[in-house]
Symmetry: C2
Subunit: 379 residues, 2 copies
């Protein structure tokens, strides 16, 4: 286990739990949402902005930072904390998702992943040991094991072939997890294991049991949100949680919409990351207390109301829907920024509400309220 890292559950409400995750760079109240700072920066949003929005912990991408500027530069500048100016906790993903799922040109074998750099075209090898070493150089508070991610829906035309491939990837992920655990040199960095297994409950249970035998500080759900049915996913989360140590933090990687988050919280998840708030913002789609607001819509051309009258973000404090629509339509980058600030605040505030509701034993009304909004409701 890592020095300076621990997790304690402070309240439960059904399977939902609130907790405190201590890291070398600060304590994170859970459930928590991690804004995605792929290259060491959330798009258009500074470290000072993120502090003002109430962010607690950021996620950076090992693969992208390895490509540019390279971990040696980051390490020389005091790690991610010194380099980026975000002094709070950092989590780094391992790059496994990017290199094993995103390109047919990358070759995965037992040793690791051989991939072609999009920057210089050179072939590079990422092994479990190298993934740990890079993350140690980046200096994140929480590192992730290198995993092989196979989407559940792969080879729909050949379900038997898909099952075999997912099983093989899940077993390999376990062997890589052992190598990652053995490769750790840095005492002050937590390492999380990743449960794979596609949409196969038995396989995910096996992966969870096997991962839990290793000395990880927390556990993540990998390879979800890639095509499996909504209710199926919740069943898989619950089945996996039954096999994991209850006292360890649980992280659902890469998901999702507000509804995904509150339902996963109800199933016992503690930690989230997702690009949706910032990506939607760039397309002019805002999360509000009244549902989705497509800010480019012509009906907002002369709407003097703030994007969300029930929001305390800097955008809603000052900006009308009419002005936001104008900025987005004109391609003015301030529009994407103001929408991003709002959406991030919406997510972070939802997590704060979830924590308070769990502590009060009243999480179900929060979940039900978000579920009732749906994705189609546009005010």
């Amino acid at each position: 286990m890592a020095a300076g890292f621990d997790f304690g559950i402070t309240a439960r409400d059904g399977e939902a739990r609130a907790g405190r995750m201590r890291t070398p760079h600060g304590t994170v109240a859970t459930p928590a949402f991690m804004p995605v700072a792929t290259l060491g920066a959330v798009r258009g949003v500074s470290a000072a902005d993120l502090e003002a929005l109430g962010a607690q912990i950021l996620l950076a991408n090992t693969y992208h930072l390895h490509e540019r500027p390279g971990e040696s530069i980051v390490s020389g500048q005091g790690g991610l904390h010194g380099f980026t100016g975000w002094r709070g906790p950092w989590l780094t993903d391992s790059g496994g998702y990017q290199v094993t799922s995103l390109s047919a040109r990358n070759r995965v074998d037992e040793d690791g992943v051989t991939f072609t750099s999009p920057l210089d075209g050179r072939r590079r090898l990422l092994t479990p040991e190298r993934a740990v070493a890079i993350q140690e150089a980046l200096g994140s508070d929480i590192a992730m094991v290198l995993d092989e991610c196979q989407p559940p829906a792969a080879d729909a035309a050949s379900p038997a072939g898909a099952t075999l491939r997912i099983r093989a990837a899940t077993e390999r992920t376990q062997r890589w997890a052992e190598r990652c655990a053995a490769a750790r040199k840095r005492r002050s960095q937590a390492l999380f294991g990743i449960v794979q297994g596609g949409a196969d409950e038995g396989l995910r249970r096996w992966s969870a049991r096997a991962t839990a035998t290793l000395p990880f500080d927390g556990f993540a759900h990998g390879g979800l949100g890639l095509g499996e049915a909504h209710t199926r996913r919740l069943d898989l989360l619950r089945a996996t949680h039954a096999e994991l140590p209850a006292a360890a933090p649980r992280y659902l990687m890469g998901l999702g919409r507000p509804l995904d988050l509150v339902e996963a919280i109800a199933a016992g998840v503690d930690l989230f990351d997702c690009v949706i708030p910032t990506r939607h913002a760039r397309h002019g789609v805002l999360f509000t207390s009244e549902g989705l607001l497509r800010a480019r819509n012509a009906r907002f051309a002369d709407d003097a109301r703030p994007p969300d009258p029930d929001c305390d973000c800097p955008t809603c404090a000052r900006i009308s829907r009419a002005y936001l629509r104008h900025l987005l339509r004109a391609g003015e980058i301030l529009g994407a920024r103001l929408a991003s600030l709002h959406n991030l605040r919406f997510y972070l505030r939802l997590m704060a509400e979830a924590r308070a509701a769990i502590a009060a034993g009243a999480f179900e009304p929060v979940r039900a309220r978000v579920a009732a909004l749906g994705d189609a409701a546009v005010p």
Copy 2:
């Protein structure tokens, strides 16, 4: 003259002057630099940011706002102040520069300018009366007359032809100025005349004398910075000032580099706007106390110093050259934003220094220091 508008000179140092320009939405200490908010927003920079940086007055573009979202939308939202959230003074340019100088497809005749909208391809007519009416609808504190701008360097192959064309444009600008002055309906909006005449001192003197016969609240130098020699421009400024009422504010439109500003201040200019600070920022070029810093340069890859150690902006307070270079190279929009905040603060702080130095009778050392930096000095 406009209600709620006046200008008073508070200190002189040679020809340089410090003053206070009162507008319906606040008082501007001069010399002042106006950040350019073409579409009602400085690129990537919010009204709250501009307040924090010390901006006093912004410039918006009548032509662009007429095209999108249209002045009726802006007017319905409380004018530029209500629409954009910048509650301080606004100056609008008339659109003359855009429509008379930027496209060979636009046709200028005595009535006005017929131009093709880049948004919908339709032909539109902008007359002096219409330019005033649009600016009154936008609700700016200071409006500009519609002028015809002919660059001094036009038709270099035929100097006689160019001279004739510039003379005709200057005389037409004067007739349009009379129509603009007659078209004013709104008492609480100042209107500035524009002196034209290319690089011809006699023509600029004539234009200044003629413009000064009209009841304008201030006067601008138009059509400069378009090719004339540096020292020639200073001679033209001084010659023009000799023909203008000394008690009125003087505005040099669209210029320029820090050296251009301090030299023009020494020649008696009070007001500036320019896109250079934000445009340079987007290209990674920063103005610093040590000269230009090209932040994408490889030498900064592991440079932990702030962009300008002598700067009090939010970027320099928190961000290293290494991180800024990384953001700019990765095309991360936060890089352009952080560089823009810095460059704007550099310009605004330079103006504050100029005001203090003029009040102390010591402007020359400020001018000399900026001149000594040059544009080639990269730290």
